[in-house]
Symmetry: C2
Subunit: 397 residues, 2 copies
């Protein structure tokens, strides 16, 4: 853990599932010391969710590298007391209980900030800490539905469609991390920490691009359009000779010209129906029919290489199996092994932001439940073995 940008910072992660653990993991990837607090015995609920390996969930492995695990029964008064003690030692606390739960455990913002005025507390929730919807339990897909994002995804003639991965959990974790790091910068001036409120619903709303003003000011909807770009053509997924698809984006005038020349479809450039961007959008079906005829006659790899050469944005629609030998993935070390005590080495996507001088340390293991009870309570609170054993005997750990 030497040389990380956030070296020396202590993070207490009492969060569950994806958004909170992802936030704390990013802080750990950047060099902070992260302690994951979870339920005695079974640990965090997501540890039981498939797919599983080595008796543990791949979800835990994906979002909890670079952390140590401490068990603590937060419904037990002694567990709450230990959490408050740990919070006096922490720079950052990350939680994603429903609003009010931390308060009910005697660990609300008022209590914790009074104990440690430098503490920064990231609170991740479905709809935010206040307001008429604050109490509603919410997951990623619910936020996609509630925000209008689901309504905008999918085929024009099909139903509203969910993004196939937990994009809102990820963006909410990212927004919380941005808030935490900004609060750290403010703390340098003020000496005081802050509460950071980041919500799944708000995070989904923030990705609506121009849909909100287009509706309000122009009365224009932003309907589903499948893989077709709304503002440029040709830009869509096209079928290939090998039974797959390529996504091609050749909408702008210079890109369209490069595309037509690279593919031998030069006749497109003389066709008055496709003479400028507005006309190409107006005649998009006819244009896509010509492109499809061409893509159906070529393989995905061949098309991708040809259009890369012509500097036209294009990619095969790749499967996960195609990622492992991908030359760019290999060159940039995008898939690295994290180590789980039972499952062993597990390949996982690596940290996104690369800093030129400080390292993103990915060697740290994914912890098993309570693996670091003795170590963390010793390091952070100075408890000796007898004190830890007494807490365990009480069922607090």
């Amino acid at each position: 853990m030497t040389g990380g940008a956030l070296e020396g910072l202590k993070v207490l992660d009492v969060s569950r599932f994806v958004a909170g653990p992802f936030c704390a993991m990013m802080l750990g990837d950047l060099g902070a010391e992260v302690v994951k607090v979870e339920k005695p015995g079974t640990g965090e609920d997501i540890r039981r969710v498939p797919p599983r390996l080595g008796g543990d969930s791949l979800f835990v492995m994906a979002f909890n590298r670079n952390k140590r695990s401490l068990t603590l029964d937060l419904r037990h008064p002694r567990g709450q007391e230990v959490l408050r003690a740990l919070a006096t030692r922490a720079d950052i606390l990350v939680e994603n209980f429903r609003p009010g739960v931390m308060e009910a455990m005697g660990c609300g913002w008022d209590v914790l900030s009074a104990l440690n005025e430098r503490l920064i507390m990231a609170r991740i929730s479905g709809y935010g800490q206040d307001g008429p919807y604050a109490d509603r339990p919410t997951f990623d897909a619910i936020a996609q539905a509630a925000s209008g994002m689901m309504e905008m995804t999918g085929a024009a003639d099909g139903p509203p469609t969910m993004a196939g991965t937990t994009v809102i959990d990820h963006t909410t974790g990212l927004h919380a991390t941005v808030g935490v790091l900004a609060a750290l910068e403010a703390r340098r001036r003020t000496g005081r920490g802050q509460m950071v409120d980041a919500a799944l619903f708000d995070s989904a709303l923030s990705m609506m691009m121009t849909a909100i003003p287009a509706q309000a000011m122009l009365g224009q909807g932003t309907p589903r359009s499948g893989n077709r770009d709304r503002y440029g053509a040709p830009s869509n997924a096209f079928p290939t000779a090998d039974g797959g698809y390529v996504q091609i984006m050749a909408g702008g005038d210079p890109r369209f010209a490069r595309f037509a020349k690279a593919t031998g479809l030069d006749a497109l450039l003389d066709d008055p129906r496709f003479a400028d961007s507005d006309l190409r959008l107006a005649n998009v079906e006819a244009l896509e029919a010509v492109v499809t005829e061409w893509t159906r006659a070529h393989g995905g790899e061949e098309i991708e290489a040809l259009l890369a050469e012509a500097q036209v944005p294009c990619s095969k629609v790749r499967t996960v199996a195609e990622l492992f030998d991908h030359p760019q993935v290999r060159h940039r070390g995008r898939i690295l092994d994290v180590v789980h005590p039972v499952a062993g080495k597990v390949p996982m996507q690596s940290a996104v932001a690369r800093l030129s001088d400080t390292v993103a340390d990915l060697d740290h293991a994914v912890p098993t439940v309570g693996q670091h009870n003795v170590e963390v309570l010793g390091d952070w609170l100075g408890y000796d073995a007898d004190q830890v054993a007494a807490l365990a005997a009480e069922g607090v750990l």
Copy 2:
């Protein structure tokens, strides 16, 4: 701009389109002073992209609030000289040209960091600054296709599907912001800035959840499953009596019990086909048929209210038009007016991370092209009116 967490920091934003401008806008929302650098005359290319209002693009309004605009011809040697001078005054520079373009303009990382060792440079690109794919032009949809994310989105029996908003542009801008803020923290210790490398492809890969280890370690694919959750049932979008859909997530045992009781479908709890989570997944079609029969008999609002009461995660699949009077949107000020000099007040989604003490200042206008040439060159470089006029006469501004 008083009281923002990043008050006092200067950001030079030479980026275009979505990911870069979004990164710089978040820094501005958090209180930094941001100067947007764009082409003389027409300004950034996205200013011509529909939907348009007041002669400008809603895309510019969505991603450039809280910035001042300075025009600069970066292909002109004098323009490059002015950019280098500005970089000596900046804390952070954000760019998303293709790798090598900043170098070709005499403004690569080596040059700029030699001029200003405290500078932090965020470089956003399709595939990262190095490697065999670094040169490929890449947009959001291309990264969705390349990463496996598109392959995982859409109906099980339909084609690979694109998320309907630019989720990867957003996450990449977020990762770049996290990197910048972490580099700021490291700078406090070292006195030196760093280069932050954030790529669309890497950002898309990072959202693949457990798909990569599931494929590598278990030989399990993570196929498209529409709106159906892969690991819990019932969890899907269900049709309602009013012709819309509700997304309901009632997979876990306690949630399933609450759902069955709230809907009057108590018989589900006695049905051996649905007795635990594994059985419900195995018999998901039969289970969803029962749920669908019930949802078809009720309106979306009614279902949402009933299940909120029962603490079962649920939302109507809302349209954009339904957001404006949404009680939570109103309560939390999620839609606020930004001000454009010509278009006037334009409603836009507000900043996501809310900090309890420092404000996210959203009152600042979206700039027109070159609106702040005199002001910025005066403030940052001490140029007088004659010097600015001379640059303009040369065509540099």
